[in-house]
Amino acid sequence: MESPALSIPEAPSLVPPALRGILPLVIAIPTLALFHWSLTGSDFATYLLSVVGVNIILAVSLNIVNGMTGQFSIGHAGFMAVGAYIAGYTSLQLKEVALSFLPVAASDQVLFLLALLAGGAAAAACGFLVGLPSLRLRGDYLAIVTLGFGEIIRVFVQNTDAFGRALGLSGIPQYSSPGMVFFWVFLVVLAARRLAGSSHGRSLWAIREDEVAAEAMGVDTTGYKVRAFVFSSFFAGIAGGLFAHFVPIINPGSFTFVRSMEIVVMVVLGGLGSTTGAFVAAIFLTLLPEGMRSLFGALGTEGSLAQRVDQIRMPIYGLLLVVLMLSRPQGLFGTKEIWDVLPRWLPRKRRGLA
């Protein structure tokens, strides 16, 4: 086809194009450092914040597959486990190593980053192996295969000496910190938002909306689905790696099917397709049990109810999900982002998905 010459308009912006890529980092890193220092001293707050951050990473990354691409993966804890065990194992092996040209703290963080990337890469590789055969097919195959994958990983770990069998891995150096966790939170949110607004994200939305039409318009639907899945698995692996470096011990019990469902509930609650929705829902659902614990504790119900919060958590999630499906099936924000649903007087982004 010969279309007339097109004039390409420059998008007006306050930020020079060259800076647009790194500006968020320039702002985020000092902020996170401040945030990190303000926390030192409170062990429980540190722990809780780290868990919140890990859950945000998990929910935001799962949203790329279940929300943006419209697939249904229910084995995210499996990819988290791969990341946790590989990163944890790497750190254990490198425990005695120190990079002599760096101060000890910096050397530790470099090794930590290496371990995290190893965990993320292993999870991404698993994502590729799981995704390629199951995403070729339409429908519910992905759900079944990811469910199976999660269980296989758990059983495998349980029977592998190197990973400590049912006892788990302990003694992993505690390199992690809320600052580090939230640095990755920042990265995954940035990546998810940029993906959503890019031509690749647009193809993922198209697959979600109508796979047949997307394919007819030249979108390699299998390729895109697999890439989205690998991408999502990578961040699940990172989340696992972070987790392994701030809990005293990781064992197969941390990565059960229930854990996977928790993440699915977060994504559904936030709104399938909404990155900020997944973010908010992850915070809410992580703090909910703690809130209940302190509430029951304050009520003084002989402590037993407060201790049983972990057992009644899943039924409560289930109830929450049912109420949500009946009252607001699209989740908190639907496919929109938080700034699209804020009050009118706040500045908004343009309409549409991206």
């Binding site: 997307a214 394919e215 390729g223």
Partner: protein, 298 residues
């Protein structure tokens, strides 16, 4: 009324320009149902052909075979001389065949602009067809690297994004949809949704455009306008066009060659005047009772 096979006019003989889209005796069955039997077709650049027939004749099925949605049980499909049996729909699209759908299949939650941009973008991506392992790996590496460009907002990525936007805006303008640019596709009126589907198909820069009942649900006035527009698209974009249309009068008005299907069989092919007076076509469309009461036609 014997339906005895009168030989159907042969497909246009081999001409100077190779056919953009050609089928060779394509048949497809669903269980026991022969949805399409020995279907032959040849589309060149500049053609504006019609495909008509009663409901359930196999017209949409023919489109699905041409675009790789269904695999033919027999026969071959060629795009610009390349045999495409067994290829996926997106690969066939990349070879230059785009289509619209009878029951509109827009990306409903995406804006009009984004609908078109999806198709524009796909053309610039690399795809795996039949390649060696090495080429496949290089291809995959390229695709993953492409995602990183989007995440890092590299200048080349932004330039590409602006180019896609401009291209899509141009197509919206051609289809008279500029005022709907930022509206979600599902909120467009019916007629505009049909036009948006055409704009999206054009986004994939096709050489052959297949339109499945593009005027369905429109009023007479809109239909006439659309037909004029389709002819203009063929000329401006140098396309070969194949239109399925239920309204016989409409097709007769603009198409230069018409193929008539009934129960999957090609019962007539030729210029509008020939087809209109063909006894079997009248039978298929109006039933035997019409012929009896009017004492035959032709």
């Amino acid at each position: 009324m014997s339906a005895n096979a009168q030989p159907v006019a042969p497909v246009a003989p081999a001409t100077k320009s190779a056919a953009l889209l050609r089928t060779d005796g394509v048949s497809i069955q669903f269980g026991g149902l022969k949805a399409l039997t020995d279907f032959r077709l040849s589309i060149q650049q500049g053609d504006l052909q019609g495909l008509i027939g009663p409901n359930g004749a196999g017209k949409s099925t023919a489109f699905n075979v041409l675009t790789g949605v269904y695999q033919p049980s027999q026969g071959e499909v060629f795009v610009s001389g390349t045999k495409v049996n067994g290829r996926k729909p997106h690969q066939i699209n990349l070879l230059g065949v785009a289509r619209t759908f009878q029951n509109i299949r827009l990306f409903r939650a995406l804006t009009a602009l984004d609908n078109v941009k999806v198709a524009c973008r796909a053309q610039t991506a690399l795809h795996q067809s039949r390649m060696g392992v090495g080429a496949k790996l290089a291809n995959a590496a390229h695709n993953y690297a492409d995602w990183w460009k989007a995440l890092l907002l590299t200048p080349s990525f932004q330039r590409e994004e602006r180019r896609l936007t401009a291209q899509a805006e141009h197509l919206l303008e051609v289809m008279g949809l500029s005022h709907r640019r930022d509206e979600e596709a599902r909120n467009l009126p019916y007629g505009e949704q049909r036009r948006l589907e055409i704009a999206r198909a054009l986004g994939s820069q096709p050489r052959v455009l297949l339109l499945d009942e593009p005027a369905a649900g429109m009023n007479t006035r809109e239909k006439a306008d659309l037909m004029v527009l389709i002819r203009k698209l063929r000329d401006d974009f140098k396309l070969g066009v194949l239109v399925i249309e239920h309204d016989m009068k409409l097709v007769m008005g603009i198409c230069e060659q018409i193929t008539v299907l009934d129960h999957g069989e090609t019962i007539a092919r030729g210029a509008p005047a020939e087809v209109r007076s063909d006894r079997k076509v009248i039978e298929a469309y109006l039933g035997d009772s019409y012929l009896e009461s009017h004492g035959g036609a032709a």
